[in-house]
C-alpha cells in the first residue's frame, strides 16, 4: 500500500465511521452544541422544558436517502435531545410509491415528509393526514416570508371538503437558477444576463464563438422528463401573470391553453435547437440528469450553462467548490413583459399521519426557528422562515439563494409537484420527453396531458 492510498483509506474510513456514528447515535451527537452558533437557544430550551417523551419512538418517513438522510437525522437529533424520545427515519427513492403502499397496508409512519405537496393533497383528501391546529395558519403568516402563500400551499382540502393546514414546510429549494463556471465566463468575456432577452443573445453569441450554450439531461429511469417540467413552469411564470399559473396548476384552464403552449414552445426554443444543447435535443432525453452538469467543468467545456435547481451540486464532480468553480445566476425574466422576478421553488412538507401526541410535538418543534436555521446551516436547503438570520447560512451561496427567495416578487411552487400524481409524475414527464425529442409538437404534447386530466375527473 502506498502511503497516499493508506491516507485515503484512513480518511475515508474515518469519515465513514464518523457518519455511521452520527447516524447510529442520533440522539447523542449534535452538530452544533447547544448554546453556540446563531440559533435561538432560548426558544429551544422553552420547547424542551415543555415537552417530554422519554422512552417513546417517533417514526418518520421521507424521500431523502444517503447523505440527505444523514442531514435530516442531524436535525431530528435536536428533537430527540429536547424530548428524550428516539427518532427513527427511513428514506426511499421511490417514496411516492412507498407511502401509498404504506397507507394501503395500514402502516403509515407517524410523521411523513412529502417531497411534493400534490401527493400530500391526495392523501389529505382521503383522510389519511391529521390536520394541524387552527392557529398554524397564523404561524405561517407571522413567520414565513410570503407566509400566506406558504399557508395556502400547506392547506389541501380535507375529506370534509374544506381546506385545513396539514403540514409545515421544513426544507425549500429554489429552482429558477442557471449554473455556470465563473472562470469560463470570464475567459470568454461573457456577462451574467439580466433579462431573458439578454440570455437569448448570449446563447447565440456562445454558438457563434463555437461553444455550446446549454447542458440538458432529462434521464432519470422511471422519472425521465422531470427537468423539462421545471423549464416550462419557469416560462409560464415569466410569460404570464401568477394567477394564470395557479389556474394552470389546478387545471382551471386547460393544459393546451394557447398561453401554456406558448410557454412550452419557449422551452423548445432552447431545448429543441441542436446547436443550443450539448449532444443535440434527442440526446438530452436520455442523458441522465445527474451526469449532465459534468459538461460545465470539462476542458474544453461541453456547455456553458445548466439550468437546474439548488440541489444539483450534490451531483457535481468531486472537488468542485461552489462560489469558485461553480456559481449560479437567477434565471432571468423578460424585461419587456414587466412581470417582475418570479421565482420557482419546491419544498418538503412535514405532515402527521398517526394522531399521536409525540407527532404533534414534532410539529411544534418545527414551529420553532431551530430546525429551519439548522437546515440553512447545513447548506443543503433554504428556508423562508424570517426568524432565521442570514448568518446561519453555511456560505455565501446559501445567503445569495436565501436572498433570491426572500426578495422574490412572486414565488410559486413547482407545478408538477402540486398536480395529482398521475399528471405531475407521469403524463407531464412523458409528454415533455416526447416534445423534446420532436415526436410531438407542443400542441400535441399539451393535448395529451389534458386528455389525461380529463380522464381523472
Amino acid at each position: 500500500m502506498t502511503s497516499k492510498f493508506r491516507t485515503a483509506l484512513f480518511c475515508s474510513s474515518a469519515i465513514l465511521a464518523a457518519s455511521l456514528a452520527c447516524a447510529a447515535s442520533a440522539d447523542s451527537h449534535l452538530r452544533f452544541p447547544i448554546g453556540e452558533g446563531p440559533f435561538d437557544w432560548a426558544e429551544f430550551q422553552a420547547f424542551a422544558d415543555s415537552h417530554d417523551f422519554s422512552g417513546q419512538t417517533l417514526d418518520i418517513a421521507g424521500a431523502g436517502t444517503g447523505r440527505d438522510a444523514d442531514l435530516l437525522r442531524e436535525i431530528f437529533a435536536y428533537f430527540a435531545e429536547a424530548t428524550g424520545a428516539e427518532v427513527k427515519y427511513s428514506g426511499s427513492d421511490s417514496y411516492e410509491q412507498d407511502i401509498v403502499i404504506a397507507v394501503q397496508a395500514g402502516t403509515p409512519p407517524d410523521v411523513a415528509l412529502f417531497p411534493q405537496p400534490g401527493l400530500a393533497a391526495d392523501l389529505a383528501k382521503q383522510g389519511n393526514l391529521v390536520p394541524l391546529a387552527e392557529d398554524t395558519q397564523q404561524w405561517y403568516i407571522d413567520n414565513f416570508a410570503a407566509g400566506e402563500s406558504w399557508a395556502d400551499l400547506a392547506s389541501p382540502t380535507g375529506p370534509d371538503g374544506k381546506p385545513h393546514v396539514y403540514g409545515i414546510f421544513n426544507a425549500v429549494d429554489v429552482k429558477s437558477l442557471v449554473w455556470y463556471s465563473p472562470e469560463a465566463f470570464d475567459e470568454n468575456g461573457y456577462d451574467i444576463p439580466e433579462s431573458m432577452e439578454e440570455l437569448k443573445t448570449l446563447t447565440d453569441t456562445m454558438v457563434d464563438d463555437g461553444l455550446t450554450p446549454f447542458c440538458l439531461g432529462l434521464g432519470a429511469g422511471a422519472g425521465t422528463g422531470w427537468p423539462a417540467t421545471d423549464w416550462v413552469e419557469d416560462f409560464i411564470l415569466r410569460t404570464q401573470p401568477p394567477e394564470v399559473y395557479d389556474q394552470w396548476v389546478k387545471n382551471e384552464i386547460p393544459f393546451n391553453d394557447p398561453r401554456v403552449v406558448a410557454a412550452i414552445e419557449e422551452y423548445g426554443y432552447f431545448a429543441r435547437n441542436d446547436d443550443y444543447v450539448d449532444g443535440g435535443s434527442s440526446a438530452a432525453a436520455t442523458i441522465d440528469f445527474r451526469d449532465s452538469p459534468d459538461g460545465l467543468f470539462e476542458f474544453p467545456p461541453k456547455c456553458m450553462m445548466h439550468r437546474q435547481a439548488s440541489f444539483i451540486p450534490t451531483f457535481f464532480p468531486d472537488g468542485i467548490v461552489i462560489g469558485e468553480d461553480a456559481d449560479f445566476f437567477y434565471f432571468p425574466a423578460y424585461e419587456s413583459k414587466d412581470l417582475g422576478r418570479p421565482v420557482l421553488g419546491s419544498g418538503g412538507l412535514a405532515t402527521i399521519m398517526q394522531d399521536k401526541p409525540i407527532a404533534h410535538a414534532f410539529m411544534a418543534f418545527l414551529q420553532t426557528s431551530l430546525p429551519h436555521a439548522l437546515t440553512a446551516a447545513q447548506g443543503k436547503t433554504l428556508t423562508p422562515h424570517t426568524g432565521v438570520s442570514l448568518d446561519a447560512y453555511a456560505n455565501d451561496t446559501g445567503r445569495a439563494l436565501a436572498e433570491i427567495l426572500l426578495s422574490a416578487t412572486t414565488f410559486r411552487f413547482d407545478g408538477s409537484d402540486l398536480m395529482p400524481g398521475e399528471i405531475g409524475t407521469d403524463a407531464f414527464w412523458n409528454a415533455m420527453v416526447e416534445y423534446t425529442t420532436g415526436s410531438l409538437t407542443a400542441d400535441e404534447a399539451a393535448a395529451a396531458i389534458q386528455a389525461r386530466w380529463d380522464s381523472i375527473r
Binding site: S90, D93, I101, A102, A105
Partner: protein, 383 residues
Amino acid sequence: MENIAGKKPALIWAKNIAMAAMVLIWVIPTFGLLVSSFRDRDQISATGWWQAMLPVELTARARTGTEATPDGPLFRVEGNIFDDEEARSYFSGTPGDISAFGTRGAEPTTYPAGTTGDLGDGETLTVNADGSYVWITPEKPGSRGQRVYFAAESPPKLTLDNYRTVLSGDNMGRAFLNTLIVAVPATFIPILVAAFAAYSLAWMEFPIRGLLIAGIVGLLVVPIQLALVPVLNLHNDIGVGQSFVGIWLAHTGFGMPLAVYLLRNYMAGLPRDIIECARVDGATDFQIFTKIILPLSLPALASFAIFQFLWTWNDLLVAKVFLPSADEAKVMTVKIADDLLGSRGGDWGILAAAAFVSIAVPLGVFFSLQRFLVRGLLAGSVK
C-alpha cells in the same frame, strides 16, 4: 456424446468458435460492469471500461507561481506545473507527460508541449512535457499566477473503494441478512407444499385431476402486480400486515404454479414400476411419497429451489409491498434501487459494486447446485 460423425477437425473448430462467440456476447456486458465497479466516478465518465487498464488522457487546470525574476523589461516566472496542488488533484497517482497546453478553458490544447505559446503583448508561455514551464510577462504578476490548461495522461486506477463504501455503508449488512431471511424460507416452504401436490397430481387418481392441473398451470399467466393490492389488504385483515411472515406466504403463493408445474412434470416421468411394486407391497401413499418419490425427485427439487431462490433474492416489487419500509427491514434490491440510486445516482462505480455484491450469493448458490439443474428438469430422463 461421442459419435463418429463429429470428429472432423473443421467442424470441431467451427463449433468451438461459434460457442466462444456466443459466450463472449453473453459475458462481455457483465464483465463491463465488473470492471466499472473497480473504477471511480470520474474515470467512468472519462473513458469506457474497456480502457480501464490504459492511462486516461485528461485535461486539467492549474496556475503558475507568482515569483518573478526581472528579465529586462519583462518578468520571468519559472517552475513546474505539477507543483500546483490543483494540477495534481486531477490525477490519481503520478501524471504522465504533458502532451499539449493552452490558456483558455475552451481551448486547452492549443500548443504542443515543449513549444512556446505567444499570448500577445510580449507575453509567452512555454510548458514542457515534464511540467516545467517558463512564463514571460510584461506586467509583474499579482497575487495569482497565470491559468494554464493542459492535457496529460493519468495512470489507470483500480480501487476497492466502491466495495468498501457499499459493504460498510448504511445498513447494507442488515439488508443482506434480510434478503437471506426472506429468500431461504421462501424457497423451502413452496417446495415442500408443491411436492406433495405434485405427487398427488402425478400419481393419484381422482376425478377432477385434469381440471386442477389445467387450473394450476393456467395461474402461471397471472401478473403478480395484480395480486399485490388485494393480498396486502387481506394480510392487513388477518393481522399479518407488512412483515416477514407476510412475504414468506406471498412468495409461497406466487411461486406455487411454476413449482407444481415443474415438479409434476418430473414426477410423472418417474418409472411406474417402482411405484406399482411399492403399492403391491402394501406401502401407503404417504410412505411411497417420503421413501421413494422424494429421494428420486431430488434433482427436480434442487433445480426448482435454484430458480425460486434466484427469483426471491432478486425480487424488488414483492419486497417493497409486503415488507415494512423501515430501513432495518429493507432487502438488498430495495436498498440498491431506493436508497443507493437516489443518493448516489450519479456514482456508477458504487452502483456497480452494489450490484455485484448482491449477485455474489445467487451465483454461489447456482454454481454449487448447477449439476442438479441438468438432471432435474427432464421428464422421463430417469430410465
